[in-house]
Every structure is written in structure tokens, then in C-alpha cells.
Symmetry: C2
Subunit: 277 residues, 2 copies
């Protein structure tokens, strides 16, 4: 049942809205959105509706960053998608001055992106945890372009015993294979080929790994292949356990493995990953 | 309204109990108890009743530690005090194997006890946050013997935007001035004079500080006075801002200050503190 979109501008308004749903026994799904709304986010909204949830989308405002954008246009798109609430917070009420809490999740926040950019998950984790607390969401939906982040968040939610499911859905991709992400949108047109190149080579390497290629050699070879294809700024290319993010060295994979890649392009980190088994 | 005490042994039972209260609009107070129940805890229970709350007490089980004790006796005491629920969890369900989350609160978890024993708040913070999430407590009550911990917890709860008030009440003291605490109970009879000595000298120093004594000289002098009085194992004696825990060096105090002391006695850390202004 869709009875119009509410635009909420404070945690207090958000709590009030959620309570009105809870009172009549409705479930709540939260979709955090960084950067402009794209088709990938609308996939998440549709998944939430299938779960018969009220859908709250949080537009995280990174004003001053390359991801600054038109919130009004996003709100119209979300309304058309029958989103129930958009949280478009004033930055200060969501990331209060003077916060001192740092969340570390051992073995998860300090690898991959967390290794090349220490503390890079701090802001997002704090924001997401605040939103979960404010909405008491039954469900948080994110796409697998944020695989590492979703693994971190799942562990955190379990460790804190929150009554919230973190659900990961396959990312939407552009026609050239590049993953839909805030960073892709922020790239200059001319640089978007790098995203497609990264996606293509990750897929090729995953196919070779599935056929028994040696992970270490494969990643080394992949780095050379990316350079050949003109994809610059490689930060990492690693095969890891999909659930624990432990590094996989062996040819015989003993669990679900995932190949993770990141390139640094003009101040942006473009990440992508692909399931191997 | 007291309708009997429920002993709950899993997070699931706890959530169910709390939901039954919430459904009829009742408020919930949480009192975490480390070690044996003593009169200080019953003060907290009485304060919760004044606030017309349902009272849930969590008996944190440190089996194998010097604080291991008879849970059954505690439960009878709490029932007499009209506590509504006692959470006496199996250790594994409350501190699950494989948790990886570490909570750091900058400037708060790394001073005083956190400096002499790095990471000493990790377990307690994770446990308390899990309990707050499980109970969605409106109110958490603790005594000011845990002043540093309560400041950390208040900041954490604010940073995570939990809808929970952390309320600190004056600690109950024994006839000789020693503060009621789990550690005091775990001390051998003969060593309890140290706790009284610490309390007495903290009170004397606070009086001198109120009269304008220099903080640095006063703390140095205090260390000597403790040694003279036979109180051994001093770990710290520091004047700090009561709210931010920033160190106070100036004679002119620009906010509420508190004098903190800790001694290490036979494997236990005995802490005490006193408000100066």
C-alpha cells in the first residue's frame, strides 16, 4: 500500500514516521543511497516491495564532494518508484559534530579498501548504524558493488545483536558491463571505459579461476592485463573468501570465493567484484 | 505494578518479554550488574521504580574470574526488590564466539583505566550495547563508581543515536567510605582497608582542590599520601573534566571536574572518583 512519499529532515521526524508504520504491524526496509539515485537503487526498492515492506531511502549528502547532486530530482524518481519515505537529512543532524565513536571490525575493515584507505568505512558505518537505530529497520538492502561494506555491516549487526537483516542483491550493470555506482556517475564520460575494462577483466579472471587457475598467478596476470587494457590506478586485485574476506591462496577453493578489484581514477575509488564459486 | 520476576536465558526470551511490556506502553530500565548483587544495585532498582519503569537486570557472568558467584542468591534478592526480569545469559549467547567488532570512543576509552589497561572496556561496551539493542531500554542506570564507563557509554549512545538515556547515580558506600563495587566484594577481607584509604584520600584531595590547590601538585602529593597510608599499587590519580574526561591542569576550573583514582590490588583494579566542582 502506497500512500504517498514523505520527505523527512530530522531523526525525530523519521522515528515518528516509522512508529506510525510499526503501530499497524508493518515491516520497514532501509536503503542507504550514496550519490545520485540510479537504476540499481530502484532494483533495491522493487526487492523491498516484494518483501511487503515500507521503504525508507536515505540520501546521504556529501556536499562539497564530487558526488554532490540534485536531491529534488532524486526525490521525484523515488516517489514514482513508490518509496514511502526519503530521508534527506541536514548533514549536521546525521553526522553530529563531536562524534568520537570509531567502529572497527577485525579482519574486515582493515583489508581491501580499508587497507588502501584506512578508516574509509568510518563515516558510512556510523551513519548506517544511526539510520538502523532510527528506523529499527527489519531489512537493509544493498547491492553487491558494496560487497565488502555489506560483509562488514552484517558482522557488525550480528555482533551488536540488532534485529536487522542485511540483504545483498546483484548490482545493476551498464550495457558495457560497468557496475552502476555513485563513483561511476561521478566519473568524467571519457573515463568510464576504465570501469567497463575493470568489469570485463574481473569476469575473465573469474572464469579462469573457476577452471582451476592459480589465484596468485591469476591476480598478478590480471594486473598486467588491466594495464594493457589501459585501466590505470590499480589499488588491489585479490581473491578472498566471500563471507570472511580471508585471502584465498589455494587453487582448491574451500568455500565461496570472490575476486575484488579497485582502481583509483581522478580522486575516486572505483570498486567492482565478481563471485568465483 | 509487579507481577513476578521472570528469569530469561536468551536474547530471544528477553526480546519477547520486552515486547509484551512495550505493547502496553510501559517504559523499560536496564541495570547491568557485574559481579554479585549489592545494596548499590538495589539503589538503582529503586530509582528505576520511581521512574515507573519495568526493570530488567542483567547479571554478567564472568565465570572463572574472581567475580564468579552464586546467581541463585542474587535472583532471590532481586525478586524481593521487585525486579521484573533477570537476564542470566549463557555466556556464549551474550558474547558470541567470533565477534570482531571493537568500539573505540576517542579521548574516552584511551584514558584512565583505558590507558593502564588497553581495551579494558571492549567486552563491557559490546555487552551493554547488545543488551540495549535487545531491550531497547529507555533508561540505563549505573552508579558513579563507573563514572568513566558511563561517560563512554553516553557518548556512544549519542553517536549511534540510540533512544536511550544513560543515568548516573551516586554510588553506595560502606561505613568506612569504601565504594560498593564488584571489585570490593572480590577483595580479601584484609585488603578492603585499601579501598577505604583510597576513598578517604580522594575526598581530602577534592576538598583541597575546591579551596584552590594546584591540580598537578595536589595529585603528586596525593600519590605520596596514599603510599604513606599503606594504599599500594596506585595506577593513576588524575583530575579530569567530568563530562569530557579532558585533563585539568589549571587551578581555575572551567567546568565540572572530577578526581579519579585507581589502585591495583591482587589482580583487581579498584577504582573510585569524587566530584570536585
Amino acid at each position: 500500500m502506497f500512500d504517498g512519499l514523505s520527505v523527512l529532515r530530522s531523526p525525530c521526524q523519521l522515528r515518528g514516521k516509522v512508529q506510525s508504520w510499526r503501530r499497524v504491524g508493518e515491516r520497514v526496509a532501509l536503503i542507504p543511497v550514496l550519490g545520485p539515485v540510479h537504476e540499481g537503487h530502484l532494483d533495491l526498492v522493487r526487492a523491498a516491495h516484494l518483501d511487503t515492506c515500507r521503504v525508507a531511502v536515505c540520501l546521504v549528502d556529501l556536499s562539497g564532494s564530487p558526488l554532490a547532486r540534485e536531491i529534488e530530482a532524486d526525490i521525484r524518481v523515488l516517489e514514482a518508484a513508490q518509496v514511502d519515505a526519503v530521508i534527506s537529512p541536514a548533514a549536521d543532524s546525521y553526522s553530529p559534530d563531536g562524534h568520537r565513536t570509531r567502529l572497527r571490525v577485525g579482519g574486515l575493515t582493515d583489508v581491501l579498501c580499508g587497507k588502501v584507505a584506512q578508516g574509509c568505512f568510518d563515516f558510512a558505518l556510523l551513519m548506517t548504524l544511526r539510520l538502523i537505530n532510527q528506523t529499527q529497520a527489519d531489512l537493509v538492502l544493498m547491492s553487491d558493488v558494496q560487497w565488502q561494506y555489506s560483509v562488514i555491516l552484517s558482522q557488525l549487526v550480528g555482533d551488536l545483536d540488532l534485529d536487522t537483516e542485511i540483504r545483498i542483491l546483484p548490482a545493476r550493470r551498464h550495457g558495457d558491463g560497468a557496475v552502476c555506482s555513485a563513483e561511476w556517475h561521478a566519473l568524467p564520460e571519457a573515463a568510464r571505459g576504465h570501469a567497463a575494462g575493470l568489469a570485463r577483466i574481473l569476469a575473465e579472471l573469474a572464469a579462469e579461476l573457476r577452471c582451476g587457475a592459480d589465484p596468485v598467478a591469476c591476480c598478478k596476470n590480471g594486473a598486467a592485463r588491466l594495464a594493457e587494457a589501459g585501466v590505470e590506478g590499480l589499488e588491489y586485485l585479490e581473491l578472498r573468501h566471500a563471507g570472511t574476506l580471508a585471502r584465498v591462496h589455494d587453487t582448491v577453493l574451500d568455500g565461496p570465493a570472490r575476486l575484488f578489484g579497485a582502481v583509483r581514477l581522478g580522486g575516486l575509488r572505483l570498486v567492482d567484484s565478481v563471485g568465483v564459486v
